[in-house]
Each structure stands twice: as C-alpha cells, then as structure tokens.
C-alpha cells in the first residue's frame, strides 16, 4: 500500500511515549525516568498488519494542551496546524496506569480536537503492585475510544496497539466535553463569528497566544476580536474547563478503575523521606558525585593502559609493514596516535554516560532538582538547571537541549549560557595528558595529586558556571514570570538494556564524531606541515648543513635539525610563528598555538594536532606523551611543558569556548547569533586572561 498514515504519540511526560515509539519502530531513541527526556519531535516508520505503513512521531511530554514551556509547545503547534506534513491522522495518547486520572486530562483535550484517538494505558506491569484493576470495556465505551493496555518493559500489548492503529478508521471522533458549557454566551458568539471552525480549536488558539506568546498561524485569522476578555477572565475560564474535565474523568473512573489501597506498596514516599531529606539527601548526593569521580579517574586506569598499549603497537606495526616515507609517518605517527588519543578515553566516557543514564533511569534526577532548586535560584538558575549542568559533564550539546523544559525564559537562557563551563568529556583528553606531564606523582590523604587536580578542574568548571550565572542574573534585564513545578516520578530499577544502549550509542558517537574531525584535521595539518613556500623551506638541507658544518654533528642529529627547520618554515610553521607573540606570554610555543586553533573545531583535537605536528618534525618512535615531555621551550630553554605552562593551558581549556557544535546549538536554542557570539568572546577572553595570569605568576 502506498498511503502512509501519520501517528502522533502524545502524553504526559514520563509515561513511556518514547518506549512505545521504540517498540513500534524498532529504533532506539533515548528513554529515561525524568519528565522531559524527549524535547524534540522524533520520527520513525512502523509496519502494520495488512501492509499498512505508519509514520510514527514521538513528541515531548506535555501535561495539557496549554503549553508552559518550549518542549510542550511543540505538541500544540503540531495539533493546531492541519497543514503540517506531520499532522496526525491518529493521535495515540500514552498514559501511565498509576496516574491515569491526571493523564486522561490531556486525552480529553485531544479528543475534543476531533482527531481519531487511541488510548494506550502503559506500565501495565505495575498494576498488581499498586492494587489497580481496570474495566477496559467500560472505559472504552465511556471515553469513546479504543484502548491498548501495554507494558513496554514486558513487551506486552504492542501487537494489539498495531492492530488498533491499522483500523483507525473505526475510531470515533466524538468529543468528551461540550466546549460551549465552559461559558455559554462567550462560546455562542465565537461560534457565530467562525461558523466553520471547531470551537475547541478556536479556544486553544485564543488562549495559547495569550499564554505562550504569538505564533504565526495563518489558518485562523481575526481571532483577535475575541481576546477582548481580559487575561484574568480567560484564565478563569480555563480553570473552569479544567474542573469540568476532571469531573468527567472522575465519573468515568469511578466505575472503570478500582484501586485496592491495601495492595498498594508505595516505596517512593518511604525512600524520599531519606533521599530528599535536608541532611541525608545532600550527603547522599555528595557521595554519588564522589563515586562517579572515583570511577572516572581510578577504575578506568586499567582499560586505558591497555588501549594505550594497543595503539602504540599498532603504530609500530604500520611503520614496519608500510614502505618508509613521509606518508607512512602521517599514518603511523599522526593519525593513529591522534585517533588513539580519543579511543583511550572510551572507558572514562563510558563510565560517565553509565552514571548519568543510571541517574536518569532510576528517577533520582528529579530529587536532585528538588534538593538544589533553592540553592540554584540564588544564582539565577532553576533547580531544573542542575540536569543540564550534570549532563554537561558528558557533552554540552544534549545539555543545552535539556534546558527546554525550564519554564522560565531567563532561567533557561542563563543555564544555556553557563553550561559550556562544565567540564565536558572532550576536555578530558587534554586535561589528562597535561596533568600527567606537569603534576607530580605524590599523594595527599590517599588521593594522588593528579586525581586531585582533575577534581579541582571539575569544581572550577562548575563554580565558574554558577558564578557567571549569578553575574548574568544581575546584568540581564529580562522579565519573565517564574513558576516551577516538577514531578517526582516513581523510582524504577534502571533497565539494563536502556542503560547499555545509551552508553554504547553515546560513546560511539563521541568516538566517531571526534574521529572524523581528527582525521580531517590531521590530514590538512600534515600537508600544511610537510610543504612550505620559498627558499627557507626548499633549501632547508643546505642551509642547515652550512650552518652546522663545523659542529661535527652525527648524521642523525643533523637530520633532526633539518626536519625541525623545515617544519618551522612550512605553511603551518609560518602561520604558527605569526601567532606566537599572542600566546607566548601564556607560556606556549607555536605548536601549541596551532593545536589551540584547531581545537576550536572541537577540544579533543588538541592531542591529535600535536601528534601530527610532532610526527612531521622528527621521526623517533615515542608515544605522544614522551614527545610532549621532550619539547623544549624556544625562548626560555628547558622543557616546554612546565608546571606554569601546564596550569596555564589547563585553565585556558577550562574556560575557553572551543566547540563549534555547542555554538551552533546555542544559536538554534536561543534563536539569535547574539548569545553564541557573546559566549564565544567572553569565555575566550576570560580564558586568555586567566591563563596569562597563571603563567606569569607561576613561571
């Protein structure tokens, strides 16, 4: 069959829409036990019985059709726009059996838009624990719909749902509530003015613009006349509507649902007495953070050494089997170590994603939001900002997206602006290699100096984020109404499959994403480093031979001198030395300068860039770390990577905005170039100044 039907998955946050989506489409979109995991529309295809194909759209969760945050607005915009190519032929409202009453509110609203609607009652596996039983036939009649009782965890009910979707023509489009009963006279006049329009839809358009700001909707013009009612009046009507809907729902559920409270076990409240406690709550949070940190630093050491070894031998092996030459050097000493510089971080990044996804899947994140709201508010943030700040330790991009469920625009903007200060996983490669070069090996209170330095860098990142939020909160003059509601979902045992999937997917995309950039940059850099303009480059050999003619150098040393002279006069060397004056006060040489510039594409490119440049500059076999240790400061003599220049570099990377993708996402999320440009300039200037001060004080 050629016709595809559009199916939209709609429902309250955290009811399992994405889980149903994954079950229908076989895709693996991210699932998590936190209201607001999905913040964008996601699409997939599902094959239905009898050859019908369905185009399934997963939407962000929403409590009702009256949006109060950006992610919720996506749903309303879709449902109010019949011309949208994704406008659903069928709405599938996904509900959580434990919260059926509240979930049905949205269901009745969708029904009133007269879209064929199927009701999915999900999480059926939890019914017996909660003592819930349902009279499905009764509910189907009174809610004028078809019901699929599903459990995506147990893989039950999905076939039934597919069957229902394929028979969507038989589903009633009768509304649940007679809209006119909200206010007879008002709706009568509305009806007269727009005889061809659905009343409830008109009502939504009117209230939506009032609630959420203007949207460009060509379909219904001239509703402006009906905003004559004051905001307060409109809101009163919306309250009345809500009460009416709940009356309807209560009536249906009185017969359709029985809850035997003596059967219900509520672990949530018992656990939350401790987990959200004034003292224990914070203590537990602290311990969890320490544990994460410990895992990232200590537990990953063994697998990391293992990977390091593999790449060293791989590079050796390539050198042996390929013919000797410059190109082999590029592969063996530029690309392989460059990629190795990323692959080596797989264990740490996997741990990071593992913990974040367990925190999300268990339901703990909402508790952290609760515990931190008051503190964060002091700094102009919302408790909900803690989620982006924590997940920002993995990557700023999803973190910036995760701000979408913050209702207050000012709090959201500030969160977006400060999130890139948190130490993301791309900084880890840079931090670790520099730390291992410049921080001594000793121990303090059982913790190694190196681990402490890393911990300190994380703290600095977090503190800077919070502190700049405080300043932004004072500077930014944005008025926006604050309000804050967050649901405390039931605790759930994280599903191994979901956690594993997140870890694998995220790690894979980190490695491939970074790998591609590194490969491209290595090759470009290698060419720029292997060729150069003019006399100095072409006659390097003669120049050096004449210069050192009397010095009686060994052949090897002479070759070394020639190679580095060539490098200095190559395209990259010339560029590098042109910018050297700017970075010299920070304690860097031109090679680090090039590495900094190339890592504006992405921070993790730093190590790969140095590997490539060094591979052209000399050709003894050593790991990238040994090479860095052997570099000599061109001015001061002595090692290039000293305590002072190392700290300076660490601080530079802690503060600088070096990530194109983050800038792009900030542009998209704030809908203007102003904020990302501001972010780039301020963060980078700040980084420069701090790095400068650090080097000048410490040298």
């Amino acid at each position: 069959m050629s016709k595809q039907i559009n199916v939209a998955l709609i429902g309250n946050p955290n009811t399992g829409k994405t889980s149903v989506f994954n079950a229908l489409t076989g895709l693996n979109q991210k699932v998590g036990n936190y209201p607001g995991i999905t913040v964008e529309k996601k699409e997939g295809i599902c094959k239905l019985p009898r050859g019908v194909k369905a185009h399934i759209i997963d939407l962000p969760g929403t409590y009702s059709l009256n949006a109060s945050s950006l992610d919720e607005n996506v749903v309303i915009e879709l449902l109010l726009n019949k011309n949208d190519k994704d406008f659903p032929d069928i709405a599938v409202v996904v509900t959580d059996v434990e919260n059926l009453k509240r979930n049905l509110l949205l269901f009745t609203q969708i029904k009133d838009l007269e879209i064929p609607t199927i009701l999915v009652i999900n999480m059926a596996d939890r019914m017996s624990r909660k003592g819930i039983s349902l009279d499905i036939a009764y509910l189907e009649t009174h809610l004028k719909t078809k019901i699929a009782l599903t459990s995506t965890r147990k893989k039950e009910g999905i076939d039934n749902l597919k069957e229902l979707i394929s028979n969507y023509k038989e589903i009633s489009t009768q509304p649940c509530l007679d809209t006119t009963t909200i206010d007879l006279s008002y709706f009568d006049s509305l009806k007269k003015a727009f005889p061809n329009q659905l009343l409830y839809k008109l009502w939504l358009v009117i209230t939506q613009d009032v609630n959420f700001g203007k949207t460009d909707r060509k379909e219904i013009n001239a509703v402006n006349d009906f905003k004559t009612k004051s905001k307060t009046d409109l809101k009163r009507l919306q309250q009345k509507e809500t009460i009416k809907r709940y009356q309807f729902i209560n009536n249906v559920l009185k017969k359709g649902q029985t809850i035997d409270l003596s059967q219900a076990k509520d672990l949530r409240i018992k656990l939350d007495r401790i987990i959200t406690h004034k003292v224990w709550g914070y203590l537990i949070f602290g311990i969890i953070l320490l544990l994460i940190f410990q895992a990232i630093y200590d537990w990953s050491e063994v697998p990391m050494d293992f990977i390091d070894g593999i790449f060293a031998s791989l590079s050796e092996w390539t050198k042996n089997i390929l013919p000797k030459g410059a190109f082999t050097n590029l592969i063996a000493e530029g690309i392989i170590p460059g990629l190795g510089g990323i692959v080596i971080f797989i264990p740490q990044i996997a741990f990071l994603f593992l913990f974040i996804s367990v925190l999300e899947e268990s339901g703990y994140m909402s508790r952290v939001v609760f515990l931190m709201d008051r503190v964060m508010r002091r700094f102009g943030l919302s408790g909900k900002s803690i989620v982006p700040l924590i997940s920002g330790t993995a990557c700023a991009i999803p973190a910036v997206m995760a701000t979408r469920n913050i209702e207050n625009w000012k709090e959201r903007l500030i969160t977006i602006l400060v999130t890139p200060f948190t130490t993301c996983s791309a900084r880890l490669p840079v931090y670790l290699i520099i730390i291992s070069l410049v921080i001594p090996k000793g121990r303090f209170l059982g913790l190694s100096y190196q681990a402490l330095t890393l911990m300190l860098l994380y703290l600095i990142g977090f503190a800077t984020a919070v502190f700049s939020a405080y300043i932004l909160n004072k500077i930014l003059k944005i008025k926006s109404r604050t309000f804050f509601v967050i649901e405390m979902p039931n605790y759930k045992l994280p599903l191994l499959k979901n956690v594993a999937l997140t870890v694998v997917e995220k790690t894979k995309s980190f490695v491939f994403g970074a790998g591609k950039i590194i490969l491209a940059i290595s090759i470009i850099l290698w060419f720029l480093a292997s060729y150069g303009p003019g006399e100095n480059f072409n006659n390097a050999e003669d120049i050096i031979r004449t210069k050192f003619a009397t010095d009686n150098l060994s052949d090897n040393d002479l070759q070394q001198k020639i190679a580095s002279y060539k490098l200095e006069n190559s395209f990259i060397g010339i560029t590098g030395r042109a910018i050297e004056p700017v970075i010299r006060p920070l304690g860097y040489d031109w090679k680090i300068g090039i590495a900094i510039i190339s890592s504006f594409a992405a921070r993790e490119v730093f190590v790969g860039t140095l590997a490539t440049i060094y591979s052209v500059g000399n050709d003894d076999e050593a790991t990238i770390k040994n090479r860095m240790a052997a570099e000599v400061n061109p001015i001061l003599g002595g090692p290039l990577f000293t305590f002072a220049s190392g700290i300076s570099l660490l601080l530079f990377y802690a503060f600088a905005m070096q990530c194109m993708s983050t800038l792009a996402i900030v542009k998209r999320e704030t809908n203007s170039w102003k904020w990302p440009i501001l972010q780039l300039t301020i963060m980078s200037t700040f980084a420069y100044i701090v790095a400068l001060l650090a080097f000048q004080f410490l040298k």
Partner: protein
C-alpha cells in the same frame, strides 16, 4: 480565613479549598491541584522551599512562592 499550603507541616494533610488566585499557574491545576482534592506535605527542602507534595496521588514539588496562594483546610491525621 483559610490556611495556605505554605503553612502545612511535614507529614500533615489538608484539603484544597481555593486556587483561584491569578498567581497559580494553570499547569498546577491541570496536574490535579483543584478544590476538594487532598494534599499531603511529603518533604520540605531547607527553608521549606521547595515543597514536595502528594496531591491526590500526583507527586510534585512546587516553590513556596506558589504555595502561599493555595488555600487549604488542614485535616486531622487519623
């Protein structure tokens, strides 16, 4: 005069009496915070803000600034 939700102590229960204040977001009503529904204060963060409530089976946290507009009548714990 009724008490407001902000007066509720940890573990106490009440019935919601009035939510008509303009400062209460519609979203809260839609989440079940409606007159006649029962509410229990499950937990408070330091300085009683935010407040973790169980409203008719919905577990939510709201800020104190919202709670002071919700009028309630306490019920004795059985």
């Amino acid at each position: 005069m009724h008490d407001t939700l902000a007066h509720l102590k940890k573990g106490e229960r009440a019935v919601i009496m009035d939510v008509s204040s303009n400062l209460i977001p519609l979203k809260l009503l839609e989440m079940g915070c409606l007159p006649g529904n029962s509410v229990e204060l499950v937990q408070v963060a330091p300085f009683s803000d935010p407040m973790y409530l169980n409203i008719n089976g919905s577990h939510l946290a709201i800020r104190k600034e919202t709670a002071i507009h919700i009028l309630i009548e306490k019920v004795a714990n059985e």
